[in-house]
């Protein structure tokens, strides 16, 4: 049998089964007690009948004996018909003296002395008079008693059949209502986004569940603190790494500028190049930590265009002079993505496009009012199997191209965290070649 996992089903079933069992037990017990009582009443009636008939019969027999009228007599009854009780009178030899008109003498047992006795079909009461010369046995069919008992049981069971389903329904509704707060709690929990660590409402929860909720809120708060710590670690690491790297690079550049020896200048240039590569790699790692650990969405939405403008300006200044063409809508595009995360995403896509795109050809950065951010570049189409592997960490589009191989993984992580998706297409739809990376950012209408 499948185990019941729902608290509601468990409670409903347990309560329903217990209620049904208790009710049936109570009914059965009542029927049993009533049956005992009923038997006493019937027995009393049986004995009463015998007590009433015996003196009359004796008088009748005596008067008949005086009149010398032989034969079996039937005591006159008020009217013919079904009788509950039948009786026979016998003498000490067992010869029949008198019987009720429905009595079947063969059904009566042999004389066993006064008192109650019973066979399969009848209950008997026997008594005697005139020193045992007149013996009466009154019989009552057991079927009669059984029928009465059945009626009593039915009388007890009938309301049960009506009330029990109602009671079970009431149990089900009651359980469901009581667990409503738990259900709402669960719904609130499953509806939230992957980076939402705000506390859950604890009000209205049953006392048994409330501690769970508050424990969960504690866990959420600790998680949020851990993520914040990770974020601030990334920021601190950025500072701790960037400043000495900046110093080393600047010194290498000064060395190159100040030395008259071409060999020394070349060495300084090599040192500088290595330091710059190290810088880019460290930067990507920190961006990845931010993308996967931090909060990608903000509580309030802001215009995305200024961030894109700043990044495009920056990237253009840092080596893509005149190659970045920006196409933004004239009206604000409001989204709740964290501006830093958006900047990291855009910068990575632009730098990728500049690095891998055809030499000297422009790179396009486009944002539509619906929040589709796309970066396109010219170049030979990327084979589909390479395209599929591109968002994997440390994967480079072309082995000889310079880069950490983390850029698209970072973009994918940020896009996912923002509730969007990264789509890579090559060639650009409607063109012979080129590469298009598109991220659909959730934006607010209007």
């Amino acid at each position: 049998m499948r185990r019941l996992t729902s608290l509601q089903a468990r409670l409903g079933l347990t309560l329903g089964v217990a209620l049904t069992a208790l009710w049936l037990a109570a009914g059965s017990l009542t029927a049993l007690i009533l049956r005992g009582e009923m038997n006493q009443v019937f027995d009393a009636a049986l004995k009463e009948t015998s007590d009433r008939i015996l003196p009359l019969a004796v008088i009748d027999i005596i008067s008949r004996a005086e009149a010398e009228e032989p034969g079996v007599q039937r005591l006159a009854t008020a009217r013919e018909g079904d009788e509950f009780f039948t009786y026979i009178l016998r003498d000490e030899t067992g010869a029949l003296l008198m019987q009720s008109h429905n009595a079947e003498p063969s059904a009566f047992p042999a004389w066993q002395g006064p008192g109650f006795s019973e066979d399969a079909t009848y209950r008997f009461y026997s008594d005697f008079a005139l020193k045992g010369t007149v013996r009466i046995t009154v019989a009552e069919p057991l079927a009669h008693r059984a029928e009465v008992a059945r009626e009593i049981q039915m009388g007890l069971l009938a309301p049960l059949l009506l009330v029990l389903p109602l009671a079970l329904a009431a149990v089900a509704v009651g359980v469901r209502l009581s667990l409503g707060a738990v259900r709402r709690f669960r719904a609130a929990l499953s509806a939230r986004g992957p980076r939402d660590f705000s506390p859950l409402p604890e009000a209205g929860l049953p006392a048994e569940i409330a501690p769970l909720a508050s424990a969960l809120n504690g866990v959420l708060a600790r998680l949020e603190a851990a993520f914040a710590a990770e974020r601030s670690f990334a920021a601190n690491a950025a500072h701790e790494l960037r400043t000495p790297l900046a110093g080393a690079i600047a010194q290498a550049q000064r060395l190159r500028a100040e030395t008259a020896d071409p060999a020394a200048a070349a060495r300084a240039g090599e040192i500088e190049a290595v330091l710059k590569r190290l810088t880019r790699f460290a930067e990507r790692l920190m961006q990845l930590a931010r993308a996967e650990g931090g909060r990608i969405r903000r509580a309030e939405a802001a215009d995305l265009r200024p961030v894109l403008r700043l990044v495009a300006e920056d990237v253009a200044r840092a080596g893509g002079e005149g190659r970045v063409s920006l196409d933004l809508p004239s009206a604000p595009v409001r989204g709740d993505i964290d501006p830093d995360a958006l900047a990291i995403l855009t910068r990575n896509l632009l730098e990728n496009a500049l690095r891998h795109g055809a030499e000297g050809r422009p790179v396009g950065l486009t944002l539509t009012p619906a929040g589709a951010l796309s970066v396109t570049n010219d170049g030979a189409p990327v084979p589909p199997e390479v395209l599929a592997r591109l968002t994997t960490r440390f994967e480079r589009g072309a082995a000889e191209a310079e880069g950490s191989g983390l850029g698209l993984a970072i973009v994918a992580a940020i896009a996912e965290g923002a509730g969007g998706a990264l789509t890579l297409r090559s060639p650009i739809p409607g063109a012979a070649g080129g590469f298009c990376a598109e991220v659909r950012l959730p934006v607010q209408p209007g």
Binding site: A238, A246, G247, I249, Q251, E283, P306, R317, P339, L342
Partner: protein, 219 residues
């Protein structure tokens, strides 16, 4: 141009200082905000290079205080804080430009020049005065089509005049632009430099305002 560099990292600070000096500018380098406040109280700087995370406080707060006092000195932020939100905060606090570490020294020089040109009211690096053609970005001067070679000090002095065309500079002001605090100033150094400039660029380019100082002729 006299530049104040506020940077606590000694390795980076030294390289930046040498780069600026090699460009022919005068640079004062401090490593703390309180020293920066002192320096700014005593000297009129043409530009400030500001690090954001300093041992005695945040550069942003310093910048806000500078702007709150109404000082219009150009400020370029040099920072390890690479987030776009930090940059927006810096620009909103009144910075003119923002350079994320690590940066190229050549780019730093270019940005210093660009910011200075914007402040002088002419973002175009090419200036024509009489028969002179001056390229501020390349630090080159040609007279009648022939290149004129200026020493670093001469260029720095000439650039000071170019940054405020028509303004009269006193001798003390020009000394301020040419010499950092620790450098010794010879009593007639400015006069010597001016006379050499006039010799190379033409006597009419720099006019003497008697009792007041010197100024560039209108361009």
């Amino acid at each position: 141009m006299r530049i104040l560099l506020i940077e606590d990292d000694t390795v980076l600070g030294a390289a930046v200082r040498d780069q600026i000096a090699a460009d022919g500018q005068t640079v004062d380098w401090v490593t703390r905000l309180d020293l920066a406040r002192e320096a700014m109280a005593g000297t009129g700087y043409d530009l400030v290079l500001l690090d954001l995370m300093l041992p005695d406080g945040r550069g942003i707060a310093f910048l806000r205080a500078v702007r709150a006092r109404g000082e219009t000195v150009p400020v370029i932020i040099l920072t390890a804080l690479d987030q776009i939100s930090d940059r927006i905060e810096g620009l909103n606090a009144g910075a003119d430009d923002y350079l994320v570490k690590p940066f190229d020294l050549a780019e730093l020089s270019a940005r210093i020049g660009a910011v200075a040109r914007r402040y002088s009211g002419n973002p175009n690096p090419l200036i024509h005065i009489e028969d002179l053609e001056i390229d501020l970005a390349q630090k080159r001067v040609s007279r009648g089509g022939k290149a004129v070679s200026l020493t670093a000090r001469e260029w720095a002095l000439f650039e000071a005049f170019l940054s405020r065309p028509g303004q009269v500079f006193s001798r003390a002001q020009l000394e301020d632009k040419l010499y950092a605090f620790d450098a010794e100033v010879e009593s007639n150094a400015i006069e010597v430099h001016i006379s050499r400039l006039r010799k190379k660029l033409g006597a009419r380019v720099i006019a003497t305002e008697r009792g007041l100082g010197y100024r560039l002729v209108a361009r």
